[in-house]
């Protein structure tokens, strides 16, 4: 998936303009800071090179397909800001419903699906016209949003209702509710498109849903040495491009769990900062970066040795991490 996007982007960049080419694959790391009201930009050498002032409470972030634009959901101003990756400036804002938290683009990049935490709605936004085309009611405090790989289905969690809503993209209707653990937060779809992983923050679990049948097929728990189950609050997840390893941040347990996807019982734990949430991988899969919400820093992890390399203070309450590669 990433490969296809990257190839497409590369072709477009080569064909279209030198500006795009310059913006492409800078290797820069972008971190949104919820209470700093900025997106912090770090060089591939982990030097802070820019602080981009955004609308208030920037949270989830995604690049467009060619990585020329970075979209940032800003919860307290009810907008998704658009940052020009070449100039590192906010150039536009898309209005949303109250308190946008997590969003995704449709695979064809024509729509945004965004969870509105305050009024319990999954919003469909048409990207060309920047208008809301559908509002799907969800359980209270919707958060994680993701597409099925074929783009026909959108999944959204409700943190309060302890369920995953299955939303049909064409009709903008909930077709099924899947009960998972307590306070479901985020999603990952495996690269083969077969499995939807859901982190359950308060029941210290990760549910795996079979996307073909929409039934729960596995429930995983994690316990780093020296912790109790109630300390383990899984939130952020990322899967390697080859699907061989799943990375799961464990929140208050201050560790990253790395699951061997072949064996699934084999888990390595990496010590990170305080209340680890978001996690991102570099495109070459050699490095993982974790955002630590309570220690206001990010931890850089070497994926070969599974050792933390360094931590960098970034600003108040880092939320999301994306890498321009």
């Amino acid at each position: 998936m990433q490969g296809i996007l990257a190839t497409t982007a590369l072709l477009m960049a080569l064909v279209l303009s030198p500006v795009l080419a310059a913006a492409f694959e800078t290797g820069q790391i972008f971190v949104s800071t919820e209470r700093g009201n900025e997106v912090v930009v770090l060089s591939p050498e982990y030097e802070i090179v820019a602080r981009i002032e955004t609308s208030r409470r920037p949270r989830d972030m995604h690049f467009n397909a060619d990585h020329t634009l970075l979209y940032v959901a800003c919860g307290d101003d009810d907008v998704i800001d658009i940052i020009d990756v070449a100039t590192l400036e906010v150039i536009d804002s898309i209005p949303t419903g109250p308190s946008p938290e997590v969003f995704v683009f449709s695979p064809d990049q024509t729509q945004i699906f965004v969870s509105n935490e305050e009024d319990s709605v999954l919003e469909f936004i048409d990207l060309a016209t920047q208008t809301v085309t559908a509002r799907v009611p969800t359980g209270a405090e919707p958060e994680g949003v993701i597409n099925s790989l074929d783009g026909t289905t959108v999944f959204v969690t409700s943190e309060v209702a302890d369920m995953v809503h299955v939303v049909d993209r064409a009709t903008a209707r909930v077709t099924k509710n899947i009960i998972v653990g307590t306070r479901p937060r985020r999603f990952v779809v495996t690269p083969d498109g077969a499995e939807l992983w859901v982190s359950d923050e308060l029941s210290s679990e990760v549910h795996v849903i079979d996307i073909a049948t929409l039934e729960v097929k596995e429930v995983h728990t994690f316990l780093p040495p020296g912790f109790r189950p109630e300390d383990v609050t899984p939130v952020g997840m990322e899967v390697t491009a080859d699907g061989s390893r799943m990375l799961i941040t464990l929140g208050r347990a201050n560790h990253l769990a790395v699951v061997d996807m072949a064996d699934r019982t084999s888990v390595d734990y990496v010590l990170v900062g305080s209340r680890a949430w978001a996690v991102a991988l570099t495109a070459d899969q050699t490095t993982a970066i974790v955002a630590n919400g309570l220690s206001d820093d990010i931890t850089v992890i070497d994926m070969a040795t599974l050792r933390p390399l360094l931590s960098i203070a970034v600003g108040r309450t880092p939320h999301a991490v994306v890498i321009d590669d």
């Binding site: 799907v136 359980g139 998972v180 549910h207």
Partner: protein, 394 residues
């Protein structure tokens, strides 16, 4: 575990807006939940005293219960239940007992009580033979826990949990010597006694406990002059046991020694505070504020979590007999999200909901207990309140 509840998943969301067109709405099972409060509850009166005094915030804990219904609408729909809260106001203990009987007769398995401690005790005894579980949301007396009423759970914090919270904070801060000022209300005496037990457990010291009075005559000056009350002895903090707060509000910034004030005024202990901003607490508070136009209090939270727990039990217990529901409520399988960062459940020995507690000023949450460093053999939340090993049923 989720596989065991696969039957819940069969019924898709039933709100009209999301109902798949081809699916007819199946009949939902009505679930009646009672809520009983006291008309003119002396704990919540706004107009006592001659001064312009609004000490306790206005409390209508039923509003917390209603928020829980709304928050759980999707869960209820998915489980095929239609919960309704029947809110009653009673004028005295006899009316409360009658209301519980009526609710039981109408099929309610749970009633949430927002009542003073003596009435909670009276109604527990009067309705002991009814097939109904009472959830005490707002009476903090430890005696109610120690009474071991078989039909009662407690969703609000006990006195001991509150005082243990102070003690942990004092220990963590190294503030070991406490001057206690005690008022004339019987609840003030209880507060001071429970504080003593909590301080003893952590080897903190009450340097002196001094009674204060609201009388202003010169003969009572040892008890009504804050500088005299707080003079002649050294201490790290002043603890004010003043349930009504009419005297206590004059203590901060007026002590003989420059020391922090806590207890009924200054730094207080709460189960909930509007300024709590972690763990999704902000979203709960803002939903409450939007719906009811005021800040959510500890009492609102206790009614909210009580009703939320009841609905979770209806959706996750093996079946919906009262035995299964209460058995599930009292089991470790109960995992209740109170938006305080950890799962909550009811203690098996005294029916008390375990929960983190907040130390708060009027403006901010200063600390959360269990304070970091306090450990426990099984669950750190059990460092707050009477623990299993020391618990005795009266």
């Amino acid at each position: 575990m989720s596989l065991a509840f696969a039957f819940l998943v069969v019924v898709a969301g039933l709100l009209p807006a999301i109902l798949p067109a081809q699916e007819a709405a199946p009949e939902k099972e009505a679930v009646l939940i009672g809520h009983i409060s006291l008309s003119d509850d002396p704990r919540y009166l706004q107009d006592w005293g001659y001064a312009r005094l609004v000490v306790p915030p206005p409390v209508r804990s039923i509003e917390g219960a209603m928020l829980a219904l709304e928050d759980m609408a999707f869960v209820s729909d998915a489980a095929g239940i239609a919960p309704v809260v029947d809110a009653r106001e009673a004028a005295n203990a006899a009316e409360v007992a009658t209301a519980v009987m009526e609710l039981s007769g109408a099929g309610a398995a749970f009633v949430v009580l927002d009542l003073p401690g003596d009435m909670v005790a009276a109604v527990a005894e009067a309705t002991a033979d009814l097939p109904i579980t009472l959830i005490n949301a707002t009476a903090p007396e430890d005696a109610l826990r120690a009474a071991c009423y078989p039909n009662m759970l407690h969703s609000g914090p006990s006195d001991r949990m509150q005082m243990d919270t102070f003690a942990q904070y004092l220990r963590a801060m190294g503030w070991e010597e406490v001057l206690v000022l005690v008022g004339e209300d019987p609840r003030d005496t209880v507060m001071a006694e429970v504080l003593q037990a909590s301080l003893d457990r952590l080897r903190l010291e009450v340097v002196e406990a001094r009674p204060f009075t609201l009388a202003t005559d010169p003969e009572s000056r040892e008890g009504n002059n804050v500088r005299l009350l707080t003079g002649g002895v050294d201490y790290d903090v002043v603890f004010v046991a003043d349930t009504r707060g009419e005297f206590g509000r004059y203590v901060p910034y007026a002590t003989q020694l420059p020391r922090p004030v806590m207890g009924s005024v200054g730094l207080t202990v709460q189960a909930w505070h509007w300024a709590m901003e972690r763990d999704g607490a902000t979203q709960v508070s803002s939903r409450f504020d939007r719906q009811h136009g005021r800040r959510m209090t500890t009492q609102d939270w206790a009614a909210w979590i009580a009703v939320k727990g009841i609905i979770i039990a209806y959706t996750r217990a093996p079946d919906r007999t009262r035995e299964s529901l209460t058995g599930f409520m009292r089991s470790e399988a109960m995992r209740l999200d109170g938006s305080k960062g950890v799962t909550l459940n009811y203690r098996t020995w005294d029916g008390q909901l375990r929960m983190p507690m907040l130390l708060a000023s009027s403006e901010a949450v200063i600390a959360i207990a269990p304070v970091e460093g306090f450990l426990h053999a099984t669950n750190t939340l059990d460092t707050l309140g009477v623990d299993e090993a020391e618990f005795v049923c009266n």
